[in-house]
């Protein structure tokens, strides 16, 4: 009872005992709750400003380091990409100088020097790079898929009908030519490296280091193995039958003898620089009924449709032959 509290009522001039109603109690506890929440938030805020939890500390440290590293590497890459750009130009210039032709633009080099930037409208946004890069990759995959989808049905049909003929006629490249980078000069009118005039180039040139293996491109009989210091240099002619002969010139060494039967893929000799040749290369020629034909049409055993397309592009673009 001693704790009971009173309030002075100035109207009635009497002390009234303070009694809290149910409502007042509710109100008051609500006020306490809100008050305590506010205070808790205030404390939390102050606490957060001055003190980090260890986990947060670690996170912050991590982020700092990662951001630092990122910006360092980003700067590095900016410089490096410029250098790579420069390297690409050197590459192109070397190509121009050696082959007297415009380099075949690579899929990677879109937007580079000279090429048309197909992804221009994607440029200039925050995440442009990621969008462009993804689009580029997608394009490449799409192209590959398209090329793959062109069917070989007709060829398979042909193969079944004319197996023997298909085994005999030249149908592969005479040297291993992964990535097709060894294609140096195609069939047709080319600038002669010495004469500097346009001359008909009756075969296809492949660049390869001296000593690279040369394969028979179809089954047949070695019709001629000739050592010479002139013109074609050391060269081999294979008679495939069905009107086809193939010629391999400027060889370093032979691996077959005249009259020998060879199968497609047999090593018949090695690349060299003999005869009138300005660089180590293989001059490869196919004749059908004694008329030189474009060898690019005779690689169907080797190439996928996409590679074939690329091969044709390379072969048609080269400006200079090597003999």
């Amino acid at each position: 009872m001693a704790d009971a509290k009173y309030k002075f009522d100035p109207d009635s001039l009497s002390f009234d005992r303070i009694k809290l109603g149910y409502k007042a109690i509710l109100l008051r506890s609500l006020a306490y709750l809100v008050g305590s929440l506010l205070i808790a938030a205030l404390y939390g805020f102050i606490f957060a400003i001055f003190v980090d939890f260890p986990k947060e500390k670690a996170l912050k440290r991590e982020i700092e380091q990662m951001t630092l590293q990122y910006s360092l590497m980003q700067k590095d890459m900016e410089v490096l990409e410029k250098v790579i750009d420069h390297l690409q130009q050197t590459d192109d210039n070397l190509y121009r100088a050696i082959f007297e032709a415009e380099p075949v633009p690579s899929t990677l080099r879109t937007g580079g020097t000279g090429g048309v930037n197909r992804y221009k409208d994607m440029d200039g946004f925050d995440n442009s790079y990621i969008v462009i890069e993804t689009a580029r990759r997608l394009d490449r995959i799409r192209k590959q898929v398209y090329m793959q989808s062109i069917s070989f049905d007709e060829l398979i049909m042909l193969a079944k009908e004319k197996e023997e003929m298909l085994r005999s006629i030249p149908a592969i490249m005479p040297i291993s030519n992964k990535d097709l980078t060894r294609t140096a000069s195609g069939f047709g009118l080319r600038i002669h490296p010495i004469y500097k005039i346009i001359k008909f180039h009756s075969g296809m040139d492949f660049t390869a280091p001296s000593g690279t293996e040369i394969y028979a491109t179809g089954n047949g009989v070695v019709a001629s193995v000739q050592s010479s210091m002139r013109g074609l240099g050391n060269h081999i002619i294979i008679d495939h039958g069905f009107g086809y002969t193939s010629l391999y010139a400027h060889l370093d060494r032979f691996n077959v003898k005249k009259g020998q039967k060879v199968k497609r893929g047999d090593v018949i000799g090695f690349v060299g620089n003999t005869g009138m040749s300005v660089a180590p290369h293989l001059h490869y020629e196919i004749k059908l009924n004694s008329v030189a034909v474009d060898p690019v049409n005779y690689y169907f055993n080797d190439l996928t449709a996409e590679e074939y397309e690329k091969m044709i592009e390379i072969a048609s673009k080269t400006g200079q032959s090597f003999d």
Binding site: L59, M66, D76, M77, I98, Y195, K199
Partner: protein, 321 residues
């Protein structure tokens, strides 16, 4: 006034205002304060349990952003490496074989990245491995660029040399190809004029008197005049690389000693001067003083029209490009 609380003092039965001494007030404040902290912690705990720490979330978000930027960087890396690979392929498989240079061993192009301490500052993080991987890749790219630049420098040099060589070496026929070839390099039992057995060290072209003779490669005229050795009016061109060509029995010499000529330049007219039994051109190629068969150094694959088109093209070109 209104808010003042009173209590009934039972000792004297008087209402007295509730007044707390200072000490009690401090005590009460302290109690309140510690209570509020306790409540705050409780709230914080509950909040954390339900929503997680907001700061954590902000930081995690930031981390996620950085990770995104790293994946961008990765794309840049990929692209750079792909391009470098492409350049490497054309370098190794195209230029070097063609220019008769060795390819660069892959051990130089891709050296093992050694040294553990190089990334010492990156250890001890959750993403240490990732950062190290990125740094290593950046280093790899830098390294490959350096190798490629050095490689291209030598390729470029060799290419210039190759181009120069092609201009200088005696690689064409000195006269219109319609003229028949006479004696080649062989041992002649009977020299047509002297009647004695002798080696013939050059290739003869059966040309009528006054046929134009062209330099077969660029070089410097080191002799032009009368030969004491039977070549009559003759000239010698030094092509460098050990090559010298001799043009003998001329009726007229169109160049002087010391003159620089390029392939396709008119150097003289054929004749029958010196020890000669009839009009012809004696053409000889020497490599480091040894006689070579000139037939090995040109192809008879041009007709008259093409030959003169070539001469015209060549003479309009400057070798100093």
């Amino acid at each position: 006034m209104h808010n003042r609380h009173y209590f009934l003092d039972l000792n004297d039965l008087q209402f007295k205002q509730v007044r707390l001494p200072f000490k009690a007030r401090v005590g009460r404040f302290l109690v309140w304060f510690s209570l509020s902290i306790a409540v705050a912690v409780l709230y914080g705990f509950i909040f954390h349990q339900i929503f997680g720490s907001p700061k954590d979330r902000i930081l995690s978000q930031e981390l996620e952003n950085i990770r995104l930027r790293y994946s961008l960087l990765e794309m840049q890396h990929d692209r750079s490496l792909e391009i470098l690979d492409e350049i490497r392929i054309s370098d190794d498989l195209l230029y070097r074989p063609l220019l008769d240079m060795d390819t660069i061993p892959s051990s130089i192009r891709k050296p093992g990245i050694g040294g553990i301490d190089r990334f010492g500052d990156l250890y001890g993080y959750n993403h240490s491995e990732m950062m190290i991987r990125f740094r290593a890749r950046t280093e790899e790219i830098r390294n490959r660029i350096n190798v490629q630049m050095e490689s291209f420098r030598t390729v470029e040099e060799r290419k210039n040399e190759w181009k120069r060589e092609m201009e200088y070496l005696p690689y064409i026929s000195p006269v219109n190809p319609i003229y028949r070839l006479g004696d080649g390099v062989k041992f002649r039992e009977v020299h047509p004029v002297l009647g004695t057995p002798q080696w013939h060290h050059g290739q003869d072209f059966n040309t009528p008197y006054g046929t134009e003779v062209y330099a077969t490669g660029a070089g410097r005229v080191i002799k032009a005049g009368w030969s004491t050795g039977g070549f009559g009016n003759y000239l010698v061109i030094d092509h460098g690389y050990g090559f010298q060509t001799t043009y003998g029995h001329l009726s007229s010499i169109k160049v002087t000693q010391g003159m620089n000529v390029k392939r396709g330049d008119l150097v003289g007219l054929s004749g029958s001067s010196g020890t000669s039994s009839g009009p012809h051109l004696h053409y000889q190629i020497d490599l480091y003083g040894k006689h070579k068969n000139p037939l090995y150094y040109f192809n008879n694959d041009l007709n008259e029209e093409e030959y003169f088109e070539m001469i015209q093209t060549l003479s309009s070109r400057s070798i100093f490009r």
